[in-house]
């Protein structure tokens, strides 16, 4: 390229009277010049094509507008002067905010920069701002020509205007000034999406595993899948060198979208506790159908086909979100508002991104929108994890509570069962006792009674009567309920006094008259009755007494009954022991059975004293 050619070109440009003076800008020492026009020509040659003369185009140059259907490569040329550069020693730089897909930069015919691979698979620089240092040694004092060879893809071949071929406005200025701008832009365009990808990938994988292991929480698995998918999609913003050419890469990227839709719709529905078989089938089917339609449409019609899906797929998610919010609004008002906020922000962000993608708009709003959606996803993810943690905590507490309740219930059942069993045993025993009692009365009683009243022998008659009374007492001991001590005393008094009275013996009874809390078991009552009866019988039959006093005292948990008569006393046997024939043995035996004792003091002419001591605590035990 000759210097004279440059001059002629510059001349021609000026002669045309064009106002785009910026194309040949004078770059001052500390000021940045934005270049909004350049000569442009389609050529795959090694240098800027001089013939035919390349027309000036406005920058940014969107190929889909300026040369529809073209996939380049396109050469751009711009001219600048940098007077006094050598004196200052300032390093100049070219800043390219957006170039799609890749470029090489030549300064005065010398290659000074390459964004990467210029042939398929072309390095993806659409989202990577380029900063090209302009070597001072190559910059002449006069006009310098800067040629940019840009390779890219026609809009039809990509799924997004953001990846369609084109070149943004350029800026030339001090390297120090532009480096900061470049660094900021790289951070926004590359570092943030990388961070988002990493976060979503980590969180998504974790939640996917969590949801996968716990099938009841399938919404977690879908949300995890959504997050991982989003992380992969987000990688388009920072991954530059893929081992596929553009057609394959775009197809793979597009195929991710129905998968994301599947995950998001299912997440929302499952989270709303809703499940439908047709949806379960339709969503995976769609994930297969979509790539097929893209394949059928062919790489040349990728964009229109993808655009169709871009409308259809978000609508599905939106519908699911609407369904979810409607359900939650009625079910769980508390959980509604946070999720509604997240979903609304995500929807707005997606809408902004969609509009920006559709119309090729770039800018901070677009970038914010690109970040907003994943941030919302992270928030939702945290919320889900929080809920899950809370639910687990509740479950653990609930389990502990339940275990406690079960233990209590088991104990109660056991208690009840034991009580029931005892009651049953008691009931059966009671019934059996009654049956035995009835049998005894009907059979043995009738026979004894017959003997009592038909025997000619008074002795046999008396024995039979005593047997009958014994039997009756036995039956009472069998079937009877505990007797209140005060009632027992009443019964004993009535019997003793009336019997002694009938025998013409003066009776004297003393016993506590106040209300007594103690009760006697039926057995204790019966045994004591027998002992008393025997004692009174002895007084009546053998003592010859005219007076008999009976006393009952309670002391130290013992009951002491003393029967004292003024009769003859019991005659001594030869060995000095008291006669056993007077029922003394049986009285003592019965007292012993009640853990008590029966002492007899007697002397000829001094009457007889019978001391019966019974421990009340023992006597009150159930028979």
């Amino acid at each position: 390229m000759s210097r004279s050619g440059w001059h002629r070109r510059l001349h021609g440009m000026l002669c045309l009277g064009l106002l785009w003076l910026a194309a040949a800008s004078a770059v001052a020492q500390d000021q940045t010049v934005t270049i909004r026009a350049a000569q442009a020509a389609v050529s795959d040659g090694p240098s800027f094509p001089t013939e035919p003369p390349a027309p000036l185009v406005e920058l940014p140059d969107d190929w889909s507008v300026s040369r529809p259907g073209s996939s380049g490569p396109v050469w751009y040329r711009l001219t600048f002067v940098a007077p006094g550069l050598r004196e200052t020693g300032e390093l100049l730089a070219l800043y390219i905010e957006h170039v799609c897909t890749n470029l090489q930069v030549y300064l005065n015919g010398q290659l000074i920069h390459s964004g990467g691979q210029m042939h398929e698979p072309i390095t993806q620089n659409c989202n990577h701002p380029q900063l090209v240092g302009l070597p001072a040694g190559l910059i002449g004092p006069g006009p310098n020509s800067l040629d940019l060879k840009v390779v890219g893809h026609a809009l039809q071949r990509v799924a997004s205007t953001h990846r369609a071929g084109g070149l943004s406005a350029l800026a030339i200025g001090p390297h120090s000034a532009l480096a900061g701008k470049h660094a900021r832009q790289v951070a926004l365009n590359v570092a943030v999406p990388q961070a988002v990808s990493a976060t979503l990938l980590l969180m998504g994988s974790f939640m996917f595993v969590l949801g996968w292991m716990n099938r009841r929480e399938s919404h977690l698995a879908y949300f995890g899948a959504l997050s991982v998918g989003w992380a992969l999609i987000e990688s388009r913003l920072w991954l530059r060198d893929l081992p596929f050419d553009n057609a394959v890469a775009e197809l793979l990227l597009c195929s991710m979208l129905p998968l994301l839709t599947w995950a998001s719709v299912q997440f929302l529905l499952r989270y709303a506790q809703y499940r439908h078989r047709w949806i379960d089938i339709a969503l995976p089917l769609q994930a297969v159908v979509m790539p097929v339609t893209l394949l059928l449409a062919g790489p040349e019609r990728l964009y229109p086909m993808a655009s169709f899906w871009y409308v259809l797929l978000p609508l599905q998610t939106l519908a699911a979100a609407g369904f979810y919010l409607r359900t939650q609004y009625h079910v769980q008002r508390g959980a509604f508002w946070p999720m509604a906020l997240f979903l609304c922000i995500a929807t707005v962000a997606l809408a902004v991104e969609y509009v920006a993608q559709s119309f090729g708009i770039r800018g901070s709003l677009m970038q914010m929108a690109q970040v907003a959606t994943p941030v919302m996803m992270v928030l939702v993810g945290l919320r889900l994890l929080h809920q899950q943690g809370r639910a687990m905590q509740d479950a653990v507490e609930g389990k502990a509570h339940l275990e406690m309740r079960i233990r209590e219930a088991t104990a109660e059942i056991e208690r009840n069962f034991t009580q029931l069993a005892e009651l049953r045993v008691e009931k059966v025993t009671e019934r059996e006792r009654k049956r035995i009692a009835a049998d005894l009365h009907d059979d043995l009683g009738a026979k004894l009674l017959t003997i009592v009243h038909t025997s000619d022998s008074e002795r046999i008659s008396t024995l039979a009567r005593e047997a009958l009374e014994e039997m009756r007492l036995s039956v009472r001991g069998l079937t009877g309920k505990p007797v209140r001590l005060i009632d027992a005393l009443g019964d004993w008094r009535a019997e003793v006094v009336s019997r002694l009275g009938q025998a013409g013996i003066e009776a004297d009874w003393s016993a506590p008259a106040e209300e007594l809390p103690q009760t006697l078991s039926a057995r204790a009552f019966v045994q004591t009755t027998r002992i008393l009866r025997e004692a009174v019988s002895n007084v009546i039959k053998h003592s010859g007494a005219t007076h008999c006093s009976l006393s009952c005292d309670l002391a130290d948990g013992d009951m002491q009954i003393i029967v004292r008569d003024n009769g003859n006393g019991i005659p001594m046997e030869l060995d000095g022991r008291l006669d056993r024939g007077h029922g003394m043995a049986s009285m003592k035996h019965r007292a012993k059975q009640l853990q008590g004792q029966c002492l007899v003091e007697s002397g000829p002419g001094y009457g007889t004293v019978i001391r019966l001591t019974l421990p009340l605590t023992r006597a009150t035990e159930a028979a």
């Binding site: 009907d442 009683g445 009738a446 038909t454 009567r465 009443g490 009535a494 006094v497």
Partner: protein
């Protein structure tokens, strides 16, 4: 002329009782029965002055005969003659209208004496029966949940004196002793006892009637 019903299933005892009754009431006409069914037939045919009724019988309980007598021949004195001395057996018979009870195995002289006392209007009363009667009336005096229907029952309650007698019997005092304590004659005490038996019967019958009416109302 005294008509006496003797209901007893054991032939020996029946014969023995029969001779005993003739000793107490010389010249009495004794209608003997061994079964409840036969006794009920006799009750519908003959008017009795006294009935000696056993409780445990092959075809039922003597209580039914006591009740039938109270129903059809209110003037008849029913006396339970039984081997059971416990109030579980005796109390229903007293409620049904029995005027006293005699334990069968007692010596002949004792039974004769008791029979004479009963026929003279001095029925026996044991401590356990007294307690049972008191408990019965104590329960009745409690406020009833169905006040409307209980209002239909003639209200029977014991007087203070009757309660006093019952209390003392329950403590084991004999009727003569109580008479001395209350400075009342033997006959007055006996009248109280008779009155207590009568009230027990009236109250029980009213209760039974009400019960029957209630069942009828619900059955309709």
């Amino acid at each position: 002329m005294t008509n006496i019903l003797l209901l007893e299933d054991l032939p020996e005892i029946r014969a023995w009782l029969s001779s005993l009754v003739l000793q107490v009431f010389p010249g009495a006409q004794i209608a003997e029965a061994a079964r409840v069914h036969d006794a009920l037939g006799l009750v519908s045919a003959i008017k009795f002055d006294l009935a000696l009724v056993d409780l445990g019988l092959p075809d039922g309980s003597g209580v039914d005969v006591v009740a039938a007598l109270r129903e059809h021949q209110p003037e008849t004195q029913s006396v339970v003659v039984t081997i059971h001395d416990d109030d579980e057996h005796l109390f229903p018979a007293l409620q049904a209208g029995a005027f006293g009870y005699i334990l069968k195995e007692q010596a002949r002289e004792l039974i004769i004496e008791q029979l004479q006392r009963i026929s003279q209007g001095e029925p026996p009363l044991s401590p356990s029966i007294a307690r049972r009667v008191m408990a019965y009336f104590a329960a009745k005096s409690k406020p009833q949940p169905m006040s409307a229907s209980s209002a239909a029952v003639p209200h029977v309650s014991l007087t203070d004196r009757e309660t006093e007698v019952l209390l003392r019997v329950a403590k084991g005092y004999t009727l003569p002793e109580i008479g001395q304590q209350l400075t009342l004659s033997r006959h007055t005490i006996a009248d109280y006892v008779k009155q207590i038996y009568r009230k027990l019967n009236v109250s029980s019958r009213a209760e039974a009637a009400l019960e029957a009416q209630r069942m009828g109302l619900f059955g309709r």
